[in-house]
């Protein structure tokens, strides 16, 4: 490895040269920063400035570069030197733009800038250029779990892109729920009539595709490894278990209809009440002719009860809406009308949900004579040779009823996601404590596992709400918490076939991408392309397991000796493990306890009589840091005594940084991270939550140091807090003044 040669560049453009004493900054970089080479430039991001840096790299063997100019978020195209370690001293957005241009402010502004130069120099010296995860996998085969519409689509779309696919299906045939449908909701114009379910066509395409290997009557016995190098044991009924080398996984295990037996009010158990799937089987039996009930009587009148056991505010049944059922009932009402226009069909709904072009489908059903009535159904009872549906007609504002030969309940979707990991882990804990019932429950729960992941953190993908595998990211809907494992179709979120096929295609894209990046040793979203990866100095490890427990992505297992075993390609590079480690043995090449710690130490701490306190801000780089930047762009001034260090995630904040800072005479520490909890905004899902939990423990330490609790301030920050954040910083600075200077200064 080449010897470290450092260089610092001080930019004088954008008024930096006017507002700051550049010569003094050069001196700081040379003397305090101990940089081998220090240069200033009038316009560093210009072609000329960039050429100067490029020349130093190419001809002067400079390989560690501290650019002291604008924010790391600005001018990224210009300052793009991928082969060297780079730090950015934020003198523009972080200093001159948040300080007034006055004589009184000049001194503190200059001090601020000098500290940022010191910090940039310190950081870059602690950094290495990441070389990429060497532990890459080479498999480019996609595993699709579930042979329904979503699974078949994912398989075919991946194969079309040139990838090999292993498709496993629990039952003896492909097709899933869609195969049980007589017809499906139309997905293209004119949206007027039900269309062929499309299963036979997809099955034929799969049969004809040499890239797709299908296992029927098969389940996953075990999934070990990591993206690019999964080993998946496929257990085939009455056959040997086969192990497949897999690059990425799509879980498309679909749904089961909500059990209508739980709806006695709505006629569960009555012969003439069916759920939507039940009606599909009657329609298939009718084969386009008049639909007959189980007892053979031709149905002359039918009532559809929407939201049966769904949208249930009492939480006794499903709380959510399954999205497809309005259109499904419309479709099913058309089965009747198309076979015999004289059949009376009534759809009782409270909100008819036919988004997009489905509105045309709704109109088409009305045109065929389907009656839609906004009604809240009270109950369905057997009467005569059929049923009586009692309901409140919300338009006519009266309690009423109607009779029908058959009642169809729109019951909604229950995802087949496998056991809930939080519940499983809790039960596991009880079982390990010797609880016999818990032991049985664990066995029971494990039997429902879909993926049987051989992961320290449990056998399946964590669930979000209502048991679905959704991500809760609006901008990034596919991001599960298990790298290279994506959910598609109704297991991810309630949806109809058209959406499930679109979803499956998108999931296939993500899975292919994950395999490609795993092969190159690169991170997946949100730090896609990042070549850094965590390593642990195991000789210092105390086997406390905090890293393995806390990793939001289940990347870390334990080896036979109970040391943490990093599966780099499962890792998303958030640094939560690094933050969690009490003995600080985990680090990334370009982000470590040291890169941050060195910056903390580099700040010049004036003595207690200077009336110049110092506040350390550790700011999440995704939201808080951009908010501070934009505060600068808007010239929203804030206190000159703060020093800001961006962190990958609050989860990566190691408590040592805080205690070191306070010990070395900082007067306060502010943490700025994203919202956590159910509506979390943390891009590492649990990162900010774990970070905060960790910080909550530090108050005891403060007490031990005889420091006020307020010396540490934890702020929830959103990227839009451009006006409020400077105010909060100033308030905190005022609070520090109130408390007085830290007693640790100069110790």
């Amino acid at each position: 490895m080449a010897e470290m040669k450092t260089a610092a560049y001080i930019c004088k453009g954008c008024e930096l040269g006017v507002r700051l004493d550049a010569a003094a900054l050069v001196k700081v970089a040379t003397k305090d920063g101990k940089m081998n080479l220090v240069r200033e430039h009038d316009f560093l991001c210009s072609a000329d400035g960039v050429a100067m840096i490029r020349n130093d790299i190419d001809n002067e063997a400079v390989n560690h570069v501290a650019i002291c100019a604008c924010s790391r978020r600005a001018k990224t195209e210009a300052f793009n030197f991928p082969t060297v370690a780079i730090s950015r001293g934020n003198l523009r957005e972080g200093v001159i733009w948040i300080r007034p241009d006055t004589d009184e402010a000049r001194e503190t502004t200059q001090e601020m800038a000098e500290d940022y130069v010191r910090m940039a120099c310190a950081e870059v010296k602690a950094m290495k250029v990441p070389e990429g995860n060497p532990n890459t996998g080479t498999s480019k085969t996609l595993l699709v779990v579930g042979g329904g519409m979503s699974g078949m689509t994912a398989a075919l779309e991946s194969a079309k892109a040139g990838y090999k696919v292993v498709l496993i299906e629990k039952t003896g045939a492909l097709g899933g729920m869609a195969a049980k449908l007589w017809r499906r909701i139309p997905n293209r114009e004119p949206f007027k009539a039900p269309m062929d379910n499309g299963v036979a066509d997809l099955v034929a395409q799969i049969d004809a595709d040499a890239n797709i290997k299908v296992y029927l009557n098969a389940v996953i016995a075990k999934t070990a490894g990591a993206p690019g190098r999964f080993k998946v044991d496929v257990a085939v009924e009455s056959g040997p278990t086969v192990t497949e080398d897999i690059g990425a996984i799509i879980q498309a295990t679909g749904f089961t209809p909500y059990d209508m037996a739980k709806l006695p009010n709505l006629g569960a158990g009555q012969a003439n009440v069916v759920d939507q799937l039940g009606l599909e089987s009657l329609a298939r039996a009718a084969n386009g002719g008049p639909i007959k009930r189980a007892d053979g009587k031709e149905v002359k009148s039918v009532v559809f009860v929407q939201c049966a056991g769904q949208r249930d505010a009492t939480k006794e049944h499903l709380e959510y809406c399954s999205g497809h059922c309005c259109a499904t009932s419309v479709k099913q009402a058309m089965y009747f009308k198309d076979a015999n226009p004289d059949v009376d069909t009534v759809v009782l709904y409270t909100d008819l949900r036919m988004p997009g072009n489905n509105e045309d489908f709704y109109r088409a059903a009305q045109n065929k004579g389907v009656i839609f009535s906004k009604g809240a159904v009270a109950n369905v009872s057997a009467s005569g040779n059929g049923c009586t549906v009692k309901f409140k007609d919300l338009i006519l504002n009266e309690e009423t009823s109607t009779d029908a030969d058959l009642v169809v309940l729109a019951t909604g979707m229950v995802p087949t996601t496998g056991p809930d990991l939080d519940q499983l882990n809790e039960t596991n804990r009880l079982a390990e404590g010797g609880d016999a019932t818990a032991k049985e429950q664990v066995v029971q729960m494990m039997s429902k596992s879909v993926l049987n992941l051989d992961y320290r953190q449990g056998p399946d993908v964590p669930q979000f709400k209502h048991g679905f595998n959704d991500s809760h990211f609006i901008c990034f809907p596919y991001e599960t918490r298990r790298t290279a494992i994506y959910a598609a179709g109704p297991v991810r979120r309630p949806m109809d076939i058209a959406q499930a096929q679109e979803d499956a295609t998108g999931a296939a894209m993500k899975a292919i991408q994950a395999m490609e990046n795993a092969g190159l040793g690169r991170a997946a979203h949100p730090r896609s392309g990042d070549l850094s990866f965590p390593t642990a100095r195991l000789e210092g490890c105390t086997q406390c397991k905090r890293c393995t427990v806390e990793c939001p992505f289940g990347a870390i297992d334990e080896d036979e000796k109970r040391f943490p075993l990093f599966n780099e390609s499962r890792c998303r590079r958030c640094g939560t493990c690094m933050g969690a480690c009490p003995v600080r043995v985990i680090s990334f090449e370009n982000y470590s306890v040291n890169t941050v710690g060195a910056q903390i130490k580099a700040v010049d701490i004036p003595d207690e009589f200077s009336e110049k306190p110092r506040v350390l801000i550790l700011a999440c780089e995704n939201d808080a840091y951009p908010a501070l930047d934009m505060a600068g762009m808007n010239r929203n001034a804030y206190d000159p005594f703060v020093r800001v260090i961006p962190v990958r995630c609050l989860g990566s904040v190691n408590t040592i940084w805080i205690t070191d800072a306070l010990n070395s005479g900082y007067d306060g520490v502010m943490l700025m991270g994203c919202k956590h909890g159910e509506q979390y905004q943390c891009h590492f899902v649990k990162g900010s939550e774990l970070g905060r939990y960790r910080m909550s423990k530090i108050y005891d330490t403060l007490k031990g140091m005889n420091l006020e609790e307020d010396r540490l301030m934890d702020l929830e920050v959103a990227i839009t807090d451009i006006e409020t954040l400077p105010k909060k910083i100033n308030d905190y600075a005022a609070r520090i003044v109130e408390m007085g200077m830290s007693p640790f200064k100069g110790l």
Binding site: S301, N367, I371, F372, S373
Partner: protein
């Protein structure tokens, strides 16, 4: 028509809806209503004493099979033909015409409320204008006032006296019309013949007895 009055309807079944579709002018649009209520909110008379059932509710009542309530209702007769509902309906239902169609059908069945003033006006107007081919405004007004008998007619005429005097003064009420003078079509006979034929054809198309 009497057989139609014997029709039984069942709640939330299609039979009354189908009857309206076949018999009422533009009745085949009733099923297309999505119950947004824009017609009800657009009706000008709705905000003054108001109707019992605005259009969208009438449509729901038809779909719910409330045959008696619909046919006996005063509501359709409140339409001023202002076409507000018609132009605002998001489903492009010709609501003005549907309301007229339902009212007309109720009348044909003999179900329209007794003494319904708008129905009376409609009859009077049609008979007046088809008699000679052109409206005789004075006779029309007189007929209207005296529909409930002479005493009531005189009372109404007294109330309206100032209106009438104003018009006479302004030369806009032709006293000659009262005496059977005024404007007439030369081809009144032909008009009568063609209207009789039209009525016959319409009854045929709707399967009604002449």
């Amino acid at each position: 028509m009497s057989d139609m009055n014997q029709q039984m309807t069942t709640r939330y079944k299609n039979n009354f809806l189908k009857e309206i579709e076949q018999q009422a002018e533009m009745g085949d649009w009733v099923k297309m209503c999505m119950q947004c209520g824009v017609c009800s909110g657009s009706c000008p008379t709705n905000f003054h004493p108001g109707w019992a059932h605005p259009p969208q509710e009438i449509f729901m009542m038809i779909r719910a099979g409330k045959r008696d309530e619909v046919l006996d209702s005063q509501s359709m007769w409140m339409c001023t033909s202002c076409y507000n509902c018609y132009v605002r309906c998001p489903r492009k239902l010709p609501i003005t015409h549907i309301m007229h169609g339902i009212a007309e059908y109720a009348y044909r069945l003999g179900r329209a409320p007794k003494g319904q003033p708008t129905l009376h006006l409609s009859k009077t107007f049609w008979n007046n204008c088809t008699k000679s081919g052109r409206t005789n405004e004075v006779q029309l007004t007189q007929t209207l006032y005296f529909k409930d008998g002479i005493v009531s007619g005189i009372k109404k005429a007294l109330v309206m006296q100032d209106v009438a005097i104003g018009l006479v003064k302004a030369g806009r009420l032709n006293i000659m019309e009262a005496l059977g003078g005024g404007h007439k079509c030369k081809g009144a006979k032909g008009i009568h013949a063609m209207l009789a034929k039209a009525r016959e054809l319409e009854n045929q198309r709707k399967g009604r007895a002449a």
